[in-house]
């Protein structure tokens, strides 16, 4: 470690209207390495990274690049100094194309400084190709699934030729295959001497690609070292500040009676001829590659965008949801994969979001009282370990993982029978994940059941009683018991 | 029968009662009622550009003649030139237009109205006292001209002090609030209210009444002679200067028909009998100034009766 550090942040502090989010953030990044920044939800990781990028102004602390102190007042300065970020919250420009999003702010130019749309398209196509992504450069971002949006953001950051790339949970919205593409790209970047700060709550990933780690807790630096020197158990313990028992707490047992039957569900080109059934007490996994139509299928089942063919039966009765309210009346709840777009009212407080789907229950003769709202919200705050200064805090001020918990709480509050979870643990830390898993097991009892999709294979394997695999919008197989292996999932889905 | 004569009437805007009376009077003209003449009234929306655009359309449609009540005395020049060049005579009405190409003008002099309204108030308070002036929208020809008239009278009366001078944009509601506030800041100082139109005068009256003051102590006068003002005169609350919308509109139509030579037995309207001093001269004069009438207790009943028809 003789050469100066590529990036060195020391004692960074930041508070929001008096509430400290970061008290002592420190991080030392070496060139050509991947540095894992670890911490629970709300530990201050994103805050630190946003300070490094010049998105937030720090209250105290110093940042040095290659030994020289730097001051980024705006992301513009950071970009000029060779720092790029894949931020945790997706920030697409929805009405611009993939190519335009990738090259936003540095469009290829023709003579007279005019934008060369053709070159931009070609370069984007080339870039996407080199990353192994199958995305049309002309597609509008707003029409993509959030996984695809995430890939576009990854492509954008990577193509910047930055010396430091900050990746704040780049994989939370994408599948295993795309994660592999990202890792391949990261290897290439490392070889070029780029330093990467990497945040993820998926431990497997950290052990695969990270060289160093830094652990933060409650806004403060705890320790750092080489990834090779810390085992998984100690990493988790240090991150959470407590011991954690086994990862998948699974103690539900599927019953015999069939709750839900779906027969030949189709909608446009999104999914075709999907038939499945769900038993009481069951956790049914749906697995597939990105874009295989899982989310679209769940949308249809929830009446958000109804199926145009096929039928469904709930307890043997016809179930034909035309809009979410129908599905909710039938006992469905649906945690979507896009918490910012379709899950949360970002400007509203935690408790308003938690009660959003169950206002009639919280209200008494049409009136809502603060106490009844607090009564509805507080148990979830404890149970899901939602970290926030108060239940009146707007959710947009919360860390990503905590926001995810709020979405979950909202739907649990409706006391559903069939809980549909699309990527339920997106951005959730290991501790809270465990709580969610335990909760799922506890939930799937009596005449209740869960349908879950996830791109995290261990989660699918660990939590599902049975898995339906989607491929290109069709069911390509069903796995249960001993057949539930990673190999089978991969085989059936690709 | 032959095709009716098609007349376009370009008004500055139909929002106020006065222009409404003006256009209703057109519809009541004997030649219109008999079907010999067809009039189309255009709402200029208080915008010189809109009026100019409407002239374009009237020229395209080849109206036989245009009656023109411009919003601005200068901005009306271009449209008049265009229409005249297209062979369409333009007869001005109500508001003057600084164009020498106007076929004729049948209207009333706003400067004179300004003088009269100011004199009404000043006479009533006996030549000495404090007044407030409520004006129309700044820069509109009617405001500019009436202000000129008011100023000329004020200049002759050194005993009159102008406490306040503000626009209420011809609006009753605005004048009402304005007067409420002035009655607060000037308490009992105000002796008279000179309003450039009746709507604003009525707003002022309502504020005075609401404040518990007596209209015997404050002289109010407005211009136009709208129906509510006539009623107020009847009750001794104000004075108004009647601008005869019917005479202006119907007289202008008579003149236009005369210039077109399309009708015999002119003039058809009552204008010329109502104002015997106004010489018809076969409709060939450049200017017909319809006299203003001060509305008093003596003539208000008959005016109101006319209005009810």
């Amino acid at each position: 470690m003789s050469s100066p550090l590529l990036l060195h942040a020391e004692s960074i502090a930041k508070s929001f209207s008096g509430v400290p989010a970061l008290v002592d953030g420190s991080l030392a990044l070496r060139a050509g390495t991947v540095h894992a920044l670890c911490g629970g939800n709300g530990a201050g990781k994103s805050t630190l990274l946003n300070v490094l990028m010049g998105i937030l102004k720090r209250d105290a602390g110093t940042i040095r690049m290659e030994g020289r102190e730097v001051q980024f007042d705006d992301p513009h300065d950071a970009l000029n100094a060779g720092v790029a970020i894949i931020s945790q919250e997706l920030e697409p420009v929805p009405d611009m194309s993939v190519a335009e999003n990738i090259y936003l702010g540095r469009e290829p130019r023709r003579r007279f400084g005019l934008i060369d749309h053709r070159a931009m398209r070609e370069q984007a196509a080339e870039l996407l190709e080199s990353l192994g992504l199958n995305l049309a450069p002309d597609a509008k971002l707003g029409s993509l699934s959030i996984a695809d949006m995430q890939m576009v953001e990854i492509a954008r950051a990577i193509s910047r030729d930055a010396r430091v790339i900050i990746m704040d949970e780049p994989t939370s919205a994408i599948g295993e295959r795309e994660t592999e593409l990202l890792f391949t790209a990261i290897e290439r970047l490392k070889a070029r001497g780029t330093g990467i700060i990497y945040v993820s709550h998926r431990m497997n990933e950290l052990y695969r690609i990270a060289d160093d780690y830094t652990i933060m807790r409650d806004g403060a630096y705890i320790e750092s070292g080489a990834m090779a020197d810390i085992d998984r158990r100690r990493l988790i313990t240090t991150v959470l500040g407590k011991e954690l028992d086994e990862e998948f707490a699974k103690f539900n047992a599927p019953g015999d009676n069939t709750l839900l039957e779906v027969d030949g569900y189709s909608r446009g080109s999104a999914f075709r001829d999907v038939s499945l059934h769900l038993k009481s007490g069951e956790i049914l996994g749906i697995f597939g590659l990105m874009g295989s139509g899982r989310s679209e299928f769940l949308d249809a089942l929830f009446g958000a965008s109804p199926a145009d063919q096929g039928e469904a039966r709930l307890d043997g009765n016809n179930y034909r949801p035309c809009r979410p309210a129908d599905a909710m009346r039938a006992g469905f709840a649906y945690v979507t994969e896009d918490r910012k777009g379709s899950g949360l009212v970002m400007d509203a407080s935690i408790k308003r979001n938690v009660t959003l789907a169950s206002i009639p229950e919280v209200a008494r003769s049409g009136l809502i009282s603060e106490p009844s709202e607090n009564r509805a919200t507080l148990p979830f705050v404890d149970k899901l370990q939602i970290k926030a200064s108060s239940v009146d805090m707007p959710v947009k001020q919360m860390s990503g993982g905590n926001q995810q918990k709020v979405v979950l709480a909202k739907w649990l509050q409706t006391d559903p029978r069939i809980l549909m979870l699309d990527e339920p643990t997106r951005g959730v830390d290991v501790g809270a994940k465990r709580e969610i898993y335990a909760f799922m097991s506890e939930f799937a009892r009596d005449d209740r059941a869960i349908i879950m999709t996830s791109s995290e294979i261990p989660e699918v394997l660990g939590m599902s009683d049975r898995v339906i695999v989607f491929r290109k919008g069709r069911v390509s197989g069903e796995l249960s018991g001993d057949e539930l292996t990673q190999e089978n999932l991969v085989r059936l889905s690709s | 029968a032959a095709d009716p004569v098609r007349i376009g009437a370009a008004t500055y805007g139909l929002q106020g009662e006065f222009m409404q009376l003006w256009s209703n009077a057109l519809e009541d003209h004997p030649a219109v009622k008999s079907g010999d003449v067809e009039v189309t009234v255009f709402d200029g929306r208080y915008d010189a550009l809109v009026q100019s655009n409407q002239f374009d359309s009237m020229i395209t449609r080849q109206y036989d003649a245009i009656l023109f009540v411009p919003i601005d005395a200068d901005a009306c020049v271009g449209p008049v030139i265009q229409a005249t060049a297209a062979g369409i005579p333009v007869v001005g009405s109500n508001t003057r237009c600084n164009s020498d190409q106007l076929a004729s003008f049948v209207g009333s002099d706003d400067v004179l109205a300004g003088q009269m309204v100011a004199e009404e108030v000043i006479d009533k308070i006996g030549g000495n006292g404090k007044v407030v002036v409520i004006e129309g929208p700044i820069g509109q020809s009617a405001q500019v001209d009436r202000a000129e008239g008011i100023d000329s009278v004020l200049a002759e009366h050194p005993g009159i002090e102008v406490l306040e001078r503000r626009t209420a944009n011809w609006s009753r509601a605005e004048a009402l609030s304005l007067m409420e506030n002035w009655l607060t800041s000037h308490q009992d100082e105000i002796d008279g209210v000179i309003a450039q139109n009746d709507e604003m005068a009525i707003g002022a009256i309502q504020a005075i009444q609401a404040s518990g003051r007596s209209l015997d102590d404050i002289a109010v006068a407005g211009v136009d002679g709208i129906t509510d003002a006539l009623k107020a005169v009847q009750q001794g609350q104000m004075a108004t200067i009647l601008q005869d919308a019917a005479a202006q509109a119907q007289g202008a139509l008579d003149v236009a028909l005369a210039r077109l030579g399309k009708a015999d037995a002119l003039p058809l309207s009552e204008t010329w009998t109502t104002y015997p001093d106004l010489a018809w001269n076969d409709g060939q004069d450049d200017t017909y100034n319809i006299p203003w009438t001060v509305v008093t207790n003596d003539n208000v009943e008959s005016l109101l009766a006319q209005r009810q028809q």
């Binding site: 507080l378 | 609030s177 509510d228």
Partner: protein, 331 residues
Amino acid sequence: MPQPTSLISSDPAPKDNAHRSLATFMSDYGIVVAFIVLCAVLSVVSPYFLGVNNLLNVLRQVSINGVLAIGMTFVILTRGIDLSVGSVMAFAAMVAASFAGTSAGYPLILPILLGLGAGLALGCVNGVMVARFAIPPFVMTLGMLSMARGLTYIYSDGMPISSLSSSFLWLGQGMVAGIPVPVLLFAMVFALAWFTLRYTAFGRYVYAVGGNPAASRLSGIDVRRITFAVYAISGILCGLAGLMIAARTSAALPQAGVAYELDAIAAVVIGGTSLAGGKGRIVGTLFGVLIIGVINNGLDLLGVSSFYQQLVKGAIIVVAVMLDRSRLSNA
């Protein structure tokens, strides 16, 4: 049992609670501070400003815009806008007045119901077109601005309706316990709106629909119905404002309410409600309304000339909002 990492029960910022609560207050009520500053300045420069009568005048003068602005707040909270308030008000005033003549002799309730009904009807048309046919609110209500004005002219034949019965005029000019009736009406509407937005399910839905329509729909909220309802509310409040203005000016004028939409929207936006929807408060609107009213009143009291009045009024509005928002620094 895992130890709760939740911070909610424990005190968040022991360090400088005082600082924080001031900051919170300022960010919540900055507009109140701006209002107080404005009033303080006015009471120094004009000895009349603080008089009881003058303050009642201000309240009476703002009450019509106040009622419109409250309806507008509902609409804007759902990301909408209602440009038609002035015209709809004029139409309702005309309908009501046509049944409130001294000679007609109908009971007072008839013009009231018909006025409110006329406003409600046009508001419902706005609501249906926006909620059901997805016409952008700006376009729909701009169309209604024009259509309602046309209806007013057609209904009234372009002439004002005056000679209203004194019981009707009481709505605009009467007093109850020393307080002008329009002020009481405004106060009632305000209280009802405040209560609705704060304590009722409907109020929650209004915020939610404006904050995130997609999430609201997925949460089982009938987004269309809420959207429809806010325009209906705005419509019925236009009806009430129509009764008030006809009664205050003793006549229904076909040209009444031209450009009132700007003042109503201004009050809402000055009050801190975001045109992007989902964020804002009715108390803010109240102070927005009051700020506009106090500026107008103050300029009249001070006798600022017509020429300078507009300049000063515009500048004060900008400065007041600047005072309010200056603390929001970081993006």
